[in-house]
C-alpha cells in the first residue's frame, strides 16, 4: 500500500466520523419532509408540542413533541440528551397498549429530538375546564366512571411492565376523538424492576404537588406503584368536583436543593382525610417529616361528607376511600381497583367514554401559530387550521384559562412540577 496521503491522514486525525455522518445525514428524512406542521399545542420545561399531519397517504394527525435543544448563546449545540428524553424514548419504544399514547417514531434532526405521537383531541384538564366554565354542570356518572376505568386499565399495563408513571395529572391524561383514554407524558416515568440505585437517588421530587402521595410528602426514600394510585384518586376526585381536591401551595426547594416540608399540601390532605393515625399507617412514625407532621393541628376524616354532594354513589366513595389509604401497602392497586364494585354497578363503563353523553365532549384542542417559529422548520404550505384558534390566545393547555387560579408569589402554578436531575 502506498503511504497515506494528506487527505486520508487529515480525516483520520481530525474528524474520523465525518464520512459516517455524511452517510447517515444523506439517508435521514426530515420532519418537514414527512409532516406538515399545523400549529402549536403547548409547551413545557421539556420543549414544545405541535399538531402535525402526515404527508403520507394516510394523512393522519399527530402530536410532535420537540425537545428543547441546548443553546450556547444563539448557537444550538450538542450537550447530551437529557435523562428525561432518554427515559421517555426508551420506555415508549417498548410499550404498546390501547390506553397509552402510542409513539409512532422518533426523528433526530438538526440537533433536536422529535417524538411523533398519535394525536389525542382532548385531555382530562380540558374536560374539567369545559364542565366548570362552559357547561357549568358536573361530569355525568357514566362519563366519569368510563374515564377512570380506562385510566386504571392503562395503569395496570404500565405497572405490569414495572413502570411507574410518577406524573399522573389531568393535563397528562388524554382522550382521543373516539372517547378512548390515553395516558401520556412518560418523561418522569421509569422502570422500577430491581433498580441499580434507589429511586430517590435519581429524582428528588416526583409528581406534581396536588397529586403527590402522602408518603412522598412525608419524605419517603422508597416508594412504589402506590404513588400512581394515589394520583388517580386525586384525578377521580377532581373529575367529580371539577376542582383539585388537595390544592396546596408547594414549598420550594431551598438554594441547596433540600426538599422542604410540604406543610400546606399535607394540611389540605388532612382537612379531608384527617390526620393519619399510627394504627392506619404503622410506617408513618419512621418517616423523615413525622415530627413536623405532629406539630400540625389535628383533623378528622370527612371524606364521606366530601363525597355526599360530589360523588353521589356509596361505591364511588368506597373506591376513593381505598385509593386514599394513607398506608401505601393498604392502598388499592390498579388491578384491585378495576375489580371494585363501583365499576360493576350501573352505569357500566364504556369504551367510548362519551357514549352516554356526547354533549359533554369538550371543544377541539386549540392550536396557534408558533410564537417561536424557528423551533420547527415551517412547511411550505400556509397554515390552514387557524380557524380553531382564537386570535391572540396562547392556547397552552396547561397554562392560562379561567380554570387555573393564579396564586400569587412563589406558591405559583401547582400544576407545574419541578424536574431535577
Amino acid at each position: 500500500m502506498s503511504s497515506m496521503d494528506e487527505w486520508t491522514s487529515n480525516i483520520i486525525q481530525n474528524d474520523p466520523m465525518r464520512m459516517y455522518r455524511a452517510k447517515r445525514d444523506a439517508t435521514r428524512r426530515s420532519v418537514s419532509s414527512k409532516y406538515s406542521i399545523l400549529g402549536f399545542i403547548s409547551s413545557g420545561t421539556y420543549g414544545r408540542v405541535y399538531k402535525a399531519q402526515s404527508l403520507g397517504e394516510d394523512a393522519k394527525i399527530h402530536a410532535i413533541k420537540k425537545f428543547k435543544p441546548d443553546k450556547e448563546g444563539d448557537v444550538i449545540t450538542y450537550t447530551g440528551i437529557s435523562q428525561s428524553a432518554i427515559r421517555e424514548i426508551a420506555l415508549n419504544r417498548e410499550i404498546d397498549h390501547e390506553n397509552i399514547v402510542a409513539l409512532k417514531e422518533v426523528i433526530l434532526e438538526d440537533k433536536s429530538i422529535y417524538m411523533v405521537f398519535e394525536f389525542a383531541e382532548h385531555d382530562f384538564l380540558a374536560i374539567i375546564q369545559h364542565h366548570a366554565t362552559t357547561l357549568r354542570t358536573a361530569i355525568t356518572p357514566p362519563v366519569l366512571k368510563s374515564l377512570i376505568y380506562q385510566l386504571f386499565n392503562g395503569l395496570i399495563y404500565l405497572h405490569s411492565c414495572h413502570i411507574l408513571h410518577r406524573d399522573l395529572k389531568p393535563a397528562n391524561i388524554l382522550i382521543n376523538a373516539q372517547g378512548v383514554v390515553k395516558i401520556g407524558d412518560l418523561g418522569l416515568a421509569r422502570l422500577i424492576y430491581q433498580p441499580l440505585q434507589p429511586l430517590f437517588a435519581g429524582d428528588k421530587v416526583v409528581v406534581t404537588i396536588w397529586y403527590r402521595a402522602p408518603e412522598l410528602l412525608m419524605g419517603a426514600k422508597h416508594y412504589n406503584k402506590a404513588i400512581d394510585c394515589w394520583a388517580v384518586g386525586c384525578v377521580m376526585a377532581e373529575l367529580a368536583s371539577l376542582r383539585p381536591i388537595f390544592k396546596g401551595e408547594e414549598a420550594k426547594l431551598d438554594s441547596k436543593k433540600n426538599v422542604p416540608f410540604q406543610r400546606d399540601q399535607l394540611l389540605k390532605i388532612f382537612e379531608v382525610l384527617g390526620t393519619p393515625e399510627e394504627q392506619d399507617w404503622p410506617g408513618v412514625k419512621d418517616m423523615i417529616e413525622y415530627q413536623n407532621m405532629k406539630r400540625l393541628d389535628p383533623y378528622t376524616n370527612r371524606l364521606y361528607e366530601w363525597c355526599q354532594t360530589r360523588v353521589r354513589s356509596h361505591n364511588g366513595y368506597d373506591l376513593l376511600r381505598q385509593l386514599f389509604a394513607y398506608d401505601p401497602d393498604n392502598r388499592l392497586t390498579a388491578k384491585e381497583a378495576l375489580q371494585h364494585k363501583w365499576f360493576h354497578e350501573e352505569p357500566l363503563p364504556t369504551w367510548n367514554a362519551f357514549q352516554a353523553a356526547p354533549q359533554q365532549i369538550p371543544p377541539h384542542r386549540r392550536i396557534t401559530q408558533d410564537e417561536a417559529p424557528s423551533m420547527v422548520p415551517l412547511p411550505a404550505a400556509p397554515f390552514n387550521s387557524q380557524t380553531q384558534s382564537k386570535p391572540g390566545s396562547s392556547a397552552s393547555m396547561s397554562g392560562g384559562g379561567p380554570y387555573v387560579v393564579q396564586s400569587g408569589g412563589n406558591g405559583g402554578n401547582g400544576r407545574k412540577k419541578q424536574r431535577m436531575g
Binding site: M1, S2, M4, D5, W7, T8, S9, I11, I12, Q13, N14, P16, M17, M19, Y20, R21, A22, K23, R24, A26, T27, R28, T77, Y78, T79, G80, I81, Q83, I86, I89, A90, L91, R93, E94, I95, D96, V106, L108, K111, S160, C161, H162, I163, R190, L191, Y193, Q194, P195, L196, Q197, G202, G421
Partner: protein, 382 residues
C-alpha cells in the same frame, strides 16, 4: 416489558442470524489481512468498553448494555469507516442513562481520554470537546433506532439458580449481584413458562459465581446479537456443570449412581439427556443439574450450540494477551496459534481505516470521485 422479552424491541429487532453478522463485517473483511483478527477485535472492543465502564464506576449491567449498544451499532456500520473509540464512549454514556445511573458527559470525555490516548490504544485524536461526544450520542441513538432497553442473562441466572452455600462471602457476593440484575425474564410474576416452576437449581459453593462470570465473558463475543438472553444464561449454567469442579462432582455423582440403563459413555456425552429423566425422580438433596436443565422448556441442542460458541470464544481469548512478552514462548504454539495483543489489534484497526479512507479518496479508477458518489455506491451495496 420488563417482564416480557417476547414483546421487547430486543426480540423484535435485534436478534439476528449469522448471515446478517457476516454481512455487517463484509466491508471490514476487504481491508483485513487475517479474518481471524475480526474475532479478536470483538474481544478487544469488549475489553475497551469494560475498561471505560469500570473507570466510570458503571455497574456490570450498564457495562453489558453499553457493549450490546456497541454490537448493535456495528451491525449497521464498519470498523474501517468509523472511529470505534468515540462510539465506545458514546455507548457508555447512553447506557449509563438508559440504566438510570447517569454520569456527567465531561467525566466520560475525561476518563475516555485517559484510557484511549495511551498504549495500547493510542487514540490520540480522541476529542476533548464534550459536544463531539454529544454529537456521537445523537447519531448512536438514531442508529440504535431508539431501542435503549436491553435484556441480559443475569436475571434469568438468578431466577433459575441459587447457591446452597450460606457462608458469609457467598451471601455477600449474591447480594451484590442481586443489585445488578438487569431486565430479563422475571421469575416472580407467575409461573415460569419455560420450566417446571418447581424451585430453583441449587448450585454448589461458587457455582453461581462461576455462571455469572461466564455470562460476563459472553459479551466478548457477538452472542448477545444471536440468542435471547435466557438461553445464554442456561448455556452458562450448563458450562458451569462441566467446568466448575464442585458442580461437576455433583453431576458426576448423580450420573455414577444412575441406573444400569445409563451407559458408561453418558458421562462424557454432553448433554446426557437420557439419564436425566431418571435422575430427576430421585429425592433431594442429590439434585441433578442436568436433569434441571432438561426439564426447562428450551431446546437443549440449541443450548449445546451456544455452549460451543462460548467455548470457541474462550479458545480465542486464551490467545489474546495484554502483553506479548508475558505470553508463552513462541514455539509452544503452532503457526495458527499465534498470540494476539491489543497493540497488534490497534495497528490492524488503524491500517484498515487508512486503507478504507484512501480507497474512498482514490477509487480503483484512479480518479478521485466526489465523496457522495462513493457513499451512494456503498449504500447500494450495503
Amino acid at each position: 416489558m420488563a417482564t416480557d422479552f417476547w414483546a421487547s424491541s430486543q426480540y423484535k429487532r435485534w436478534i439476528v442470524d449469522r448471515a446478517t453478522l457476516r454481512q455487517a463485517r463484509a466491508d471490514d473483511l476487504l481491508y483485513i489481512d487475517d479474518p481471524e483478527h475480526l474475532d479478536f477485535l470483538a474481544i478487544y472492543f469488549a475489553e475497551v468498553v469494560g475498561k471505560l465502564g469500570k473507570k466510570l464506576r458503571l455497574p456490570q449491567r450498564a457495562i453489558a448494555t453499553a457493549t450490546v449498544f456497541f454490537r448493535r451499532f456495528y451491525l449497521k456500520n464498519s470498523y474501517c469507516e468509523t472511529d470505534p473509540f468515540i462510539v465506545i464512549a458514546a455507548c457508555c454514556y447512553v447506557a449509563a442513562k438508559a440504566e438510570e445511573c447517569p454520569v456527567h458527559i465531561k467525566n466520560v470525555v475525561g476518563d475516555a481520554r485517559q484510557i484511549f490516548c495511551h498504549e495500547p490504544y493510542n487514540a490520540k485524536n480522541f476529542p476533548s470537546d464534550n459536544s463531539k461526544l454529544a454529537e456521537m450520542e445523537f447519531y448512536l441513538v438514531d442508529d440504535l433506532e431508539c431501542d435503549l432497553t436491553v435484556f441480559h442473562p443475569y436475571r434469568t441466572l438468578l431466577a433459575l439458580c441459587k447457591s446452597v452455600d450460606a457462608s458469609d462471602d457467598q451471601a455477600t457476593a449474591q447480594e451484590e449481584e442481586a443489585g445488578e440484575v438487569g431486565a430479563g425474564i422475571a421469575a416472580d410474576d407467575g409461573p415460569r413458562y419455560w420450566g417446571t416452576g418447581e424451585g430453583q437449581l441449587e448450585l454448589p459453593p461458587n457455582g453461581l459465581q462461576t455462571a455469572w462470570f461466564i455470562v460476563n465473558d459472553t459479551y466478548r463475543s457477538e452472542l448477545c446479537l444471536l440468542y435471547p438472553p435466557h438461553l445464554i444464561a442456561i448455556a452458562a449454567i450448563y458450562l458451569t456443570c462441566i467446568f466448575h469442579p464442585a458442580t461437576h462432582e455433583t453431576v458426576a455423582a448423580v450420573l455414577a449412581s444412575g441406573s444400569a440403563s445409563t451407559t458408561a459413555s453418558a458421562a462424557a456425552d454432553p448433554p446426557p439427556r437420557r439419564s436425566s429423566r431418571q435422575a430427576a425422580e430421585r429425592k433431594k438433596p442429590a439434585q441433578d443439574p442436568l436433569a434441571f436443565l432438561a426439564e426447562l422448556n428450551v431446546s437443549l441442542p440449541l443450548i449445546a450450540t451456544i455452549a460451543q460458541e462460548i467455548i470457541a470464544m474462550y479458545t480465542l481469548w486464551d490467545r489474546y494477551k495484554e502483553d506479548a512478552s508475558a505470553a508463552d514462548t513462541p514455539d509452544s504454539r503452532g503457526e495458527d496459534e499465534a498470540v494476539v495483543t491489543p497493540a497488534l489489534l490497534t495497528a490492524v484497526l488503524l491500517k484498515m481505516r487508512e486503507a478504507r479512507f484512501q480507497d474512498m479518496a482514490h477509487p480503483s479508477s484512479g480518479r478521485p470521485v466526489a465523496v457522495n458518489k462513493m457513499l451512494e455506491r456503498t449504500q447500494a451495496a450495503g
